[in-house]
Amino acid sequence: MVCLSMFVIPAVCCLAAPQAVSLKTIPAKVTLQYAGAQQQFVAIANYADGTTHDVTDTVEWRLSNPALAELIGSARIAAAADGDLTVTAVLAKGVEAHSAVQVKGSAQARPFSFTQEIGGILTKRGCNQAACHGGVKGRGGLKLSANALYPKDDYEWITKGGTYQVLTAEVKGERIPRIDLKNPEQSLLLTKPTMIKPHGGGKRLEKDSEDYKAILTWVKSGAPFGAEDSGKAPKLARLDVFPPLAAMAVDGQHHLLVTAVFTDGHTEDYTHQVLYSSNNADVATVTAEGVISGKRLGETAILVRGAGQVASAGAGVIGPPISNYPEVARGNFIDEAVFTKLKNFHIIPSELADDAAFLRRVCLDLTGTVPPPERVRQFIASKDARKREKVIDALIGSPEFVDYWTFRFSDIFRVAIFANGLTPKWSQKYWEWIRNNVETNRPYDEVARERISAEGYGPASRHFLPYNQVGAPNDVMAEEVRVFLGRRLDCAQCHNHPYENWSQDQFWGMAAFFSRVFKMGPVVFDHPSNMDLSSKDVNGSIQLLHPRTKAVVLPALLDGSPANLTPESNPRKELARWMTASPYFAEAAANRIWGQFFGRGIVDPVDDFRSTNPPTHPELLAALAADFREHDYDLRHLMKTIVMSRTYQLARSTNATNSDDVVNYSHALPRPLDAEVLLDAMVDSTGIQEIFSTAVADGSSVGQAPVGTRAINLKDPDMFFSRFLELYGRPNRGAIPERSIHPNLGQALHMLAGSTYADRLSAKDSRLARLLQSGASDAKIFEEFYLAAYGRFPAPDEIQDLEKTLAKRNDREAGLREFVWALTSSREFAENH
């Protein structure tokens, strides 16, 4: 559930200033420790119209005891002496709020920490961004870890110098320290960013800045690593950002408050020690002080980087308040989350989709099949108040549901001959395994565990055998993590991930779970780690070596938790247990399924979870994941929950408040049908089957799928050649498919002259031919095809236009063929909406 208090709107956005009824300051209570400790405050006002606004810059800030702290800006204080005081914000007479502040240890200097002090400066100044020294090999001879994620490494590079190499831990070139202990002011770490010496990155520091002084002081003091050297000093655990989601009007502003949480539980204000950036500066920008400015309607993420940590906050730029916001019915927790956010963003969701639109949409989403005309008629005519739920249940229980989700998971799990051991029988057995899982609604965590840890000759183990070789541990691990945890670790295999907190060591530690996978004949197993791979007969090793350090890598879980492994056990079982118990697992699955029904994930792309790509609805994602877990990872339950929501059932048509919305689910978005679904829809609408044949060069000896086989039911689609499917983006499953949804010229030409269209229009036993033979009227034919292709009745004006057009043709049959072509080549047909 999205908390209302998270949404704050600057007062400047109000059309007519309503009366403020209450005020609060954040943080309400805080402790300032050590000399010079500072704290930023934010003030939030509640108004009579129910809105809340950021009034940080509007209120008057007062200190109860100025001897203990001083105001160093309108809403920021610095500790001066030990004691308790109150910070008060006054908005208007009688509208004020207070924060309790304790100052302690104000005479004591903060223990130096390289990570926090120097790492923080390098991060805030952008020195260690991926595009600069935080890149894979650094820049200009200086390598820094991205966002100071690895301060020990940074310390080495800065104090000793040298050039980083990707494939070896050896330092390249002469080692020139970036600091000069004898002449601290001559340290490259100071002369470069101040442009005293040429610097490709431009000027990053002013000579009189606090950060310059801090670095100089550090060098002068002998450049220590600091308290963390002891291993006992608390470390920065995370950054918390307030508010997690800020709403503002165009040209409105909002302050962010960043709090660093340390491993010992204490917190510090980091608002002015981090680097801010906007994921979409067209929507909102952010200043170095953490003040967001709305630019145009929309939503984006503000990224916050500091001292090895990355966090984010959402920023919504919203329209004017709506005085008579309508009550919107809510079906389940999905609607609660989506509609609450919409209301706070001043967006009114569209109306419920009409029955015809709903039926076509839900049929395509649950079964990949367009509803037959008779079912459309029945559904529209039904007066049953529960007819939508009933049809959802019927679809989820239908064999077409099994067909479609077998197809979907065959895509994700990559059923393909070349990916499954080069043996069609193996890929088909793998397909059967997926189908059986779907048919029996096997809990998804069980499916995942079996796939990750499969041994022997079973079907799930076939996916470890691309080209009949055991897949490389790094490739296999990255794929399992992407499929089941929704994370892309790939970058970290060559170097620490430039944008995430994944290190190269973590990557290879995870990969090591697959390092013992071996193939003996067709049998996949994990070679015991306490036995030589080849005994005394042939040299060989099962040890996985770190590509850079060449050290032996042992299996290590991503979160550093211990793995319970024995030399003769299957280590992947432990990995599978950990992965499916991870909170990532349920949220990744829920997000993937959500993405299938809405065309975009709550995190999008659906398998690209990262701190720099935050979810649009984090609470909703958490709720979906929790519900999925609570229902034993039941995919059908998850899907029903989604399609039963009003959110899913909203109309495509928009209103004045939501026409620009593409991320908040305020209306249905049209989604192109996948190639296979589109082809099947063509078959269903025209009544002419597609023939799928395998082929070899001379066309002599091939197989053919049984007549009536649907495109989504091809077990090993890479064996069946189809011009249509290639043109419309069928993937070869050589990697996890990312389907192209962009139209191309080939599609256009195929529509005009391709066999998929042309042959069907002239087929003798087509739907059209049968209607003509039955003596059906033009109106009957129009209606039948509209129902078959669009799942709706033609509108009166459409019928009039069709009749006029047809009347101009001398050849009725030819005219009707053109009508069918027009329908099946239209966007309305090719999209789910």
Partner: protein, 581 residues
């Protein structure tokens, strides 16, 4: 990767799995008769039916030849199969002949498969099987029954049906009734070779079975829905690719069984025989045959095996009987003892389990370890057998490790036999475990024979199954054999029952050198020394042509100390002297 390696990969990619979709190959210029299929190939004893035998080089066929068949045959006619549209660029192919053969089965015939051949002016053909069964057989009707609506109705069980997947993508439906709670067994036999060999069915027809119910769907009330499916895995030792399915029906009603070829193959050679019977019937499997199988998991390691081996080594059958012992999950220190020769029995019923037994050796001895898997064989059950010395060091294993020729990548394979010279006296532990850490089953039974080595002749292969030779010409037949456990004796091959004018001579032919394995590992422990000799059949210029084949017996014996041993292999090959083409 070298060009050579690339070529190998290309052959594998294009010729391996994709060849699984190739139709049976036909000779482009048939110099000899070749049968590809018979349809139908199954009949009930005491009945008469007509089979169409399809092949090349069959023009002028006069007689059906079979040594053991319990039926009489008559050729009713021969015609050439019409040629379908041929692309101008296509290579010319030999015309296909269709020989109509009337088969009258004896009333007392024993059920089974019987090979038949055709005799033509060019000689005798290869053999294809005709099956005799006890029950009435129905041929599929002429109209297509490719859809549920046109399904052939099976009115009574048990039923036996002949059918054919005559075209690519064809599916044959049969409808039958099942009572609630009834169990029905379905089995489909392919008329083409169905060996389960690598590639699946490169030269055969791999049938599959599906059971459907008429339960409809929201979209289509007439939709039939699959409730069971069979397609067997590949490369399971002792199993072919014929389809077998046992289904218990919860509800009474009409159901459908669908027969099709794997991955939509089909053609006029794709005949099948479908059996549907109530109750659960065991799968019919071809018997392992009488041929010696030295290194197959399914061979029975009898208590008399030492005598069998001695006999194959040209020695007397005066060896001791072999005792049987049970293994234990106890650690090596407390594992039960057994004496050589001894057979260890057990089953891996718990994942990760290792079972052991120990023996003592008083001095150096060359031993052999043989492994039998009576109920489940690789790749389903993959027993690893290790021999550990008293210090717990592995001194032998049935895992053969080597490096691939192309990439040098280390590869391993499980072997059913390993020989090892043991030079130290002391206790040795035999440890048996399943290759995977997670799999176990009561079916994972093993028998491990540990015995002294006995030099002998191993497998003997004579691949040719017919000889057609013209006067003045010669045809060679290869005999390939293995020298097991350092068998150093000679090998004698004799050809008996030659027709007049035909001689069998010792010969030799050219065998190209093979690249040695990159890193062969301890190959000698796992791979026997393989040799071959050639028997050359010559027909004198004046040899009389034969109207009927003469069954020539090729007999293989070991020769030790100048004395021939017992027969270790014998094969009858039909031989004809035919006019030059």
């Amino acid at each position: 990767m070298s060009a050579f390696c690339l070529m190998i990969v290309a052959v594998w990619v294009l010729g391996g799995p994709l060849a699984a979709f190739a139709a049976p190959k036909t000779a482009e210029t048939p110099s000899e008769p070749k049968l590809t299929s018979a349809y139908p190939f199954t009949g009930q004893r005491g009945t008469t039916f007509t089979a169409i035998i399809r092949g090349t080089g069959l023009r002028g066929a006069t007689t059906v030849f079979s040594k053991t068949a319990p039926f009489t045959t008559a050729i009713e006619g021969i015609e050439t199969e019409p040629v379908e549209d041929v692309k101008p660029s296509a290579k010319p192919k030999a015309p296909i002949e269709l020989v109509r053969v009337k088969i009258q089965i004896d009333a007392a015939a024993k059920a089974g498969r019987y090979p038949i051949r055709l005799i033509t002016p060019a000689g005798i053909s290869n053999a294809i099987p005709i099956a005799v069964i006890d029950h009435p057989v129905t041929d599929e009707p002429a109209p297509s029954h490719e859809t549920p609506d046109t399904a052939v109705v099976i009115s009574k069980l048990p039923a036996a049906l002949n059918g054919r997947i005559a075209q690519r993508g064809e599916t044959d439906y049969y409808a039958f009734h099942a009572d609630a709670g009834e169990t029905v067994t379905f089995e489909v036999f392919s008329g083409l070779p169905s060996t389960g060999a690598a590639g699946g069915n490169a030269n055969g027809f791999d049938p599959s079975l599906s059971i459907y119910e008429r339960s409809g769907s929201w979209f289509d009330p007439k939709r039939v829905n699959r409730i069971a499916f069979n397609d067997e895995p590949l490369w399971v030792l002792g199993k072919g690719t014929d389809a077998y399915l046992v289904q218990r029906f919860e509800k009474a009603g009409e159901y459908l069984v669908r027969v099709e070829a794997f991955s939509g193959q089909g053609g006029l050679d794709y005949g099948y025989h479908l059996k549907v019977a109530t109750g659960e019937a065991p799968q019919e499997r071809s018997s392992p045959g009488k041929n010696w199988a030295e290194r197959k998991y399914e061979r029975a390691l009898s208590t008399d095996r030492l005598n069998d081996l001695a006999e194959r080594g040209g020695k007397a059958r005066d060896q001791a009987k072999i005792e049987t012992y049970r293994t234990s999950v106890a650690p090596a220190s407390s594992a039960p003892m057994f004496r050589l020769p001894g057979t260890l029995e057990g089953a891996i019923t718990q994942p990760g389990e290792a079972q052991r037994s120990k023996f003592h050796l008083d001095g150096p001895q060359d031993i052999a370890i043989e492994i039998e898997t009576p109920t489940s064989a690789p790749p389903l059950f993959n027993p690893i057998v290790r021999l550990l010395n008293a210090a717990g060091e592995e001194v032998a294993t049935n895992v053969f490790a080597g490096r691939g020729l192309c990439t040098g990548e280390l590869n391993k394979s499980l072997q059913a036999k390993v020989i090892v010279p043991l030079r130290d006296a002391g206790d040795y532990t035999v440890e048996v475990r399943e290759t995977t850490a997670d799999l176990a089953s009561p079916e994972f039974r093993y028998r491990v024979l540990v015995r002294p080595q006995i030099a002998h002749l191993g497998d003997v292969k004579i691949e040719e199954d017919k000889v057609n030779v013209s006067p003045g010409d010669a045809k060679s037949v290869r005999v390939v054999f293995d020298r097991e456990e350092d068998y150093r004796g000679a090998v004698a091959v004799t050809a008996e029952s030659l027709p007049p004018g035909v001689q069998a001579l010792a010969g030799a032919d050219f065998e190209p050198d093979k690249d040695p394995p990159l890193h062969p590992g301890k190959r000698e422990r796992y791979v026997p020394r393989n040799e071959r000799l050639v028997v050359v059949f010559t027909a004198s210029p004046d040899a009389a042509l034969t109207a009927q084949p003469q069954l020539v017996r090729l007999v293989v014996r070991p020769i030790v100390d100048g004395k021939p041993g017992a027969i270790v292999s014998m094969k009858e090959i039909p031989l004809m002297v035919v006019a030059k083409p």
